[in-house]
């Protein structure tokens, strides 16, 4: 019988301190996430040095808790996987250095993992992959379409040229004086509003799978300014509904087009914005009319966690990839 692969994952790229242990890349043995969202709320976004400080405080607590929740012992752990980038450099460094110290102390191999590879592999904790597959990653820092022809191979076929989808949500939320994080608030408002404003859709050049949300952001701002100057009042819920309709339509249409063009066997959605109800509903509707299965993981696996890093790290480990103790955090790491 093939021996199990047990990987410990560590994630600290933004505002969640997370440790998890995953068996064979598919089964979560323990998964602990300490969120800092309350500490950043009053700033309207993640503040880097506050994030780093929290990670330092939380890391050993989270690590101990992770082992309390499982029978797995350090002896059984085959390797340590850690997010090396992209993200906030000071935040990433806490995870990377913790992983390096553990790797040295416990004499376990170290595997650096790309944060987006992690988001993609979160889906494998629910369902086995079938290739080729297309992944739509949407979060506060990312909007990407990634094609995978086999395990561990990532082909970036589209990305945002300016703002990430989640970032556009946060900035529009700021204009509407909604609390941080803005995404869920706009989603809720959109559900009760009507699409009364025709905001632009950024399709870009024919055949491009890239995204652009900066123009939409400007259009929303202009609309609010102009209404104010004319003394008109726009309903926040209608602005939210009209804005969200534009974002969702472009994301859905480009994902569908790419899925057909590359003849994929699965489409998976990952990242914090995958929790958006409007987006989920539209993707489900559109893909139900095709024979391409759509996977959207449970919300707790959409947001940052370490199980996804352990899952992606399992494949990298099995493919023989190792990082040295000179592994460094890379804020602008590119997915390869």
């Amino acid at each position: 019988m093939k021996k199990d692969t047990i990987i410990l994952g560590i994630e600290t790229s933004c505002d969640e301190t997370a440790v998890s242990i995953v068996r064979n890349g598919t089964e979560i043995m323990t998964n602990v996430v300490a969120s800092q969202i309350e500490s950043h709320k009053r700033f309207g976004g993640v503040v880097p040095e506050i994030a780093s400080r929290h990670h330092v405080e939380q890391m050993t607590v989270v690590l101990e808790k992770a082992f309390e929740n499982t029978d797995i012992t350090w002896d059984e752990v085959d390797a340590i996987a850690v997010t090396e980038g992209p993200g906030l450099v000071g935040a990433l460094l806490v995870g990377v250095n913790s992983a390096k110290a553990l790797s040295f102390a416990k004499q376990k191999p170290l595997v650096g993992v790309h944060h987006i590879a992690g988001h993609i592999y979160a889906n494998r904790l629910e369902k086995e992959f079938e290739f080729p597959l297309l992944a739509l990653i949407v979060s506060g820092g990312h909007t990407e379409l990634v094609l995978m022809r086999e395990h561990g191979s990532y082909e970036l076929i589209g990305e945002t040229r300016d703002d990430a989808a989640g970032e556009a949500y946060d900035k529009v939320a700021r204009m509407l004086n909604l609390p941080y994080p803005g995404g869920p608030h706009i989603d809720q408002l959109a559900a009760i509003g009507e699409e009364t404003i025709a905001f632009p859709r950024a399709w870009l050049e024919e055949g491009s799978y890239d995204f652009s949300f900066s123009g939409l952001k400007s259009a929303v701002i202009n609309k609010i300014h102009n209404a104010k100057q004319r003394g008109e009042t726009l309903k926040n819920e209608d602005i939210a509904a009209s804005f969200q309709a534009s974002v969702v339509e472009v994301l859905t249409a480009k994902t569908l087009k790419a899925a057909k063009a590359y003849n994929v066997k699965q489409v998976i959605v990952a990242g914090g914005v995958a929790a958006n109800k409007g987006l989920r509903r539209e993707l489900e509707t559109v893909f139900s009319e095709t024979d391409i299965p759509l996977l959207i993981p449970d919300i707790k696996l959409c947001t940052d966690n370490a199980a996804m890093i352990a899952a992606a790290g399992t494949i990298a480990f099995e493919q023989g990839r190792r990082s040295g103790l000179d592994l460094n955090a890379n804020a602008s790491l590119q997915l390869k």
Binding site: V47, P48, G141, D162, S332
Partner: protein
Amino acid sequence: MVQIQTNTVEETQLIAEKLATMLKPGDVITLEGELGAGKTTFTKGLAKGLGIKRNISSPTFTIIKEYEGRLPLYHMDVYRLEHSDEDIGFDEYFHGNGVTVVEWAHFIEEFLPNERLAIRIGYMDGDKRILEFTASGAYFEQIMNELIS
């Protein structure tokens, strides 16, 4: 202080591109302007002038993004540092080997070098913008005068 009015995104980016060709390592450019004024759009033009091939996307999420070109570009958005007074290693960028562009720079006023070129982007209507340049120090004054000549 000098002002330039531009009518299109392309015109704005051409000015940024021209500015980039005059810059050297350790130069700091600050960008101010409301949400959606075009700070990242201006930076895209600057990056082109620095010979950077990669797409410049918003640095809001990670605060700093780095790019390789004729000179490296350090692109910062310090909006979220408004309530923070800690140095996150600014000097390494400001005195580094590249050009630093800082969006929402007034939030980190105390860390900015004395010599710098400040640019404020103001909305007109549509894609029209007013670019307002303020140079601190003789070096940047010369660059500014060359830019408008």
